[in-house]
Symmetry: C2
Subunit: 472 residues, 2 copies
């Protein structure tokens, strides 16, 4: 390991930078009876993994982060940046220990620029808090991961997070205009300009987005915003065949409709979630899957017209009775079922794979996942953003042996990923590679691509101290 | 200069790769009476600049390009990739001579995938030919630069070109899913996957887009497509004050309307174009500028509703009589005037600056440009994509002295660019830096940013042979 251990001199230096109250160690946490809070800085939402930080720093701004990075660069101490810790690929885990750098105090919405439909925010702002703040002035920030109530915008940027609205509105990457970043060397840059178009040098903004905290620490973001869509209509469509649900998605687009949500739930996913929520729900015997389709816009009459067109498309498939939700309460309940599949699955032990393929291939992928599961003897709960071809495959521990769970699943997971790639897809749509998918990256990316990425990493971080052990 | 001269051995090797018919030299062109065709490979649409290539190669596919690059990498011979040569920043000019590598024979639309709303194409396909091909199956590829009738998609990718529709639909970068690229070393990679979402390693796709042919040669592109919008409405709105036109743009967005075109033409731009086209057009005395506003969608009734809302917004400004074009002929005439401003300006000697600012700052930028022009004694014709804050500033030669034209304008152009940056903008929105804006890059980008870019360039192109002398 090329890294150095943390010294007491460095701790003192950190205290001078961020103030003693924001330098946490295991010993101090023990003394203050906050050991559990401290331990949380060593976990995220990925399985049950834990790695202990040597020290947790909670800087207040870019300048403090710059000073920290200069020290760590000089002393070759690893730094793992951390947002809210809701990641699903282990990206925030300090696998080489050293410093965990939390962005929790960079939590200000600095400006909402109504004239330009832009906002400048810090990375520690919670996604939903930001959505609500811009909605108050009639504006719209679309990216809405399932964890929107707790995840930070900085983490969303690290993985270019999506969410249901990505099918119409794109992912986090599509809303970023400009980033303030502290580089691993301590230098502070802005990546671009606050403009919708930019053809001035290489796109450092999009290089930073999705780099999982390995190239720099984002300290400010300029997002573009949209006018808030005033109305939505939601419909729940039962299908007798999973593959038909996937086909219907393409047909809706071909009819000229771009839904603002297009979610797929296989039968078992819906059942698990309803049971988890205590909602009495009887899915008819012959229903294999549901699509949850949302339309949005400024004009309700227009949405009803579009809904009729969607119905006309669905008439070509073997669907059950469509439930049209047009009250807020009905819509909330349907979205609650969809959003809680993840929580329902979490009540079991599971591994989540974030597969993604061209949208029309989702039926083939799902059938492949089930076939592989049957062959290796595991159950999976599948759901996801079918409009984007993004299928979350949750492999359930069930009665699998330790050997199978810890080692034996590698082969079937590899098979699933190879199928994704064969279908034109890849191994992560929105969760990132982080720690837990690192072993599979060679399935998606050629060695030449990985070498380019390693080269870029080395340009930004010559000592390799920032979030080491991730992606490749 | 670290480059080597072309040898006759290399010419023989190139002939073995692409066939003798596709190896052009000045001598052969002279002999075949095609000297003028050959000379064109040394120019683009940037001012009257010309640099002579030592040899022009016209490979047929990625494999041939790979072999060429391996040779040139080994022998340190510079290679300038070239599309249709419609660039406005000199990006395709072979300033270090050597090889000009034309993509003109990579001109196939390989597949239009109607199920997935995707298409795979080669870089030498003309933008409009691609638009028309996908429209035939009801699909829509929005990016539409003014040169769409002749520019190649590869060149559009090199600069992330925009066009009028960018205000609603984004620029070229927003439609690219995956790129096949030949690296300067000759290696061939695919940058990503054919998926709408991807969180698998660094975003090499967006690093390649806008890199102006300095990091690799794009040999295949997978684009995402949209359903074709069946209807448009176009309106021409005269304003008595330029600044009010810029303000009205923000107000339209705030009303929840996202036009599919939002073009600004100052009075003189409109007059020049009408005169160029021979259209008798009398702009009323008190009109200082026009906005051309386009709405699009699948439902004409809905568009008329939106047009009424736009009228209601415009009522708050001092506008003249609005011309609503709803026949194809009327719409074509208005767009023809807008699109021909560039040609009208080209009939004079001019320099074009591709300024971009946050959209609400466009009025301030325009006033600044005029003030700087008055101070330094030059006339400018300004127009552009006001919905994106992208203003094309055309400085007219007029009676300026050689000294002023060749050297003296550097200072006022720098002033214009510094104003852009002060307003949160930058020095190129869609034309790129290329050769002619290279001297100004330091106004937009800090030395730290430039060093990162140089480092990335070095990772991709360790001998610096690909499109040398551009951007930085």
């Amino acid at each position: 390991m090329p890294f150095n251990a943390l010294t007491s001199e460095l701790i003192v230096a950190f205290e001078a930078i961020v103030g003693p109250a924001h330098v946490l160690t295991a010993q101090r946490a023990e003394a203050a009876a906050t050991a559990e809070v401290y331990a949380d800085y060593g976990r995220d939402h990925t399985e049950d993994l834990h790695y202990a930080p040597d020290v947790v720093l909670r800087p207040a701004n870019a300048d403090e982060i710059s000073q920290i990075m200069r020290l760590c660069h000089e002393h070759r101490v690893p730094v793992t940046p951390r947002g809210a810790g809701t990641g699903l690929s282990g990206g925030a885990l300090p696998v080489h220990h050293g410093v965990v750098l939390s962005t929790e105090r960079l939590n200000k919405i600095i400006q909402i620029d109504e004239r330009n439909l832009q906002a400048t925010v810090e990375p520690g702002v919670v996604n939903e808090a930001f959505q609500n703040a811009v909605k108050e002035v009639g504006l719209f920030y679309p990216p809405d991961p399932a964890s929107k109530g707790s995840c930070f915008l900085g983490g969303n940027l690290a993985h270019s997070s999506g969410g249901p609205k990505a099918v119409k509105y794109g992912t986090t990457k599509d809303y970023v205009l400009n980033l303030q970043v502290v580089l691993p060397t301590g230098d502070i840059i802005w990546t671009a300009a606050n403009t919708l178009k930019n053809s001035t040098g290489y796109n450092l903004t999009q290089l930073m987005v999705g780099s999982e905290g390995t190239l720099g620490i984002i300290t400010k973001v300029v997002f573009r915003l949209l006018p808030y869509p005033q109305h939505t209509i939601l419909m729940l469509v039962p299908f007798r065949q999973e593959a038909q649900a996937a086909e219907a998605v393409s047909a809706v687009f071909r009819a000229g409709i771009i839904p603002s949500g297009m979610e797929f739930m296989e039968r078992i996913a819906m059942e698990w979630s309803a049971r988890y929520l205590g909602i009495p729900l009887t899915v008819p015997e012959d229903v294999r899957a549901h699509l949850l389709i949302e339309l949005d816009g400024q004009d309700l009459d227009q949405l009803y017209k579009e809904a009729e067109q969607v119905y006309a498309v669905l008439d070509n498939y073997n669907v059950g009775e469509i439930l049209l939700a047009d009250t807020a309460a009905q819509k909330d309940e349907l979205w609650r079922i969809r959003r809680n599949i993840g929580n329902a699955v979490k009540s079991a032990v599971y591994k989540e794979e974030d597969t993604v393929v061209p949208r029309a291939e989702l039926g083939t992928l799902l059938a492949g996942v089930k076939e592989i599961g049957a062959r290796y003897g595991f159950q999976s709960v599948c759901y996801g953003h079918v409009g984007d071809g993004n299928l979350h495959v949750n492999i359930i521990r069930g009665n699998l042996s330790d050997e199978m769970w810890n080692v034996g699943l590698r082969e079937p997971i590899s098979e699933i990923f190879r199928l994704c790639v064969k279908l034109g897809g890849t191994i992560s749509g929105e969760h990132g590679i982080g720690l837990v998918q690192k072993g599979y990256i060679g399935i998606a990316l050629a060695e030449t691509n990985l070498n380019l990425m390693r080269g870029i990493k080395n340009v930004f971080d010559p000592h390799g101290i920032l979030n080491p052990g991730k992606i490749f």
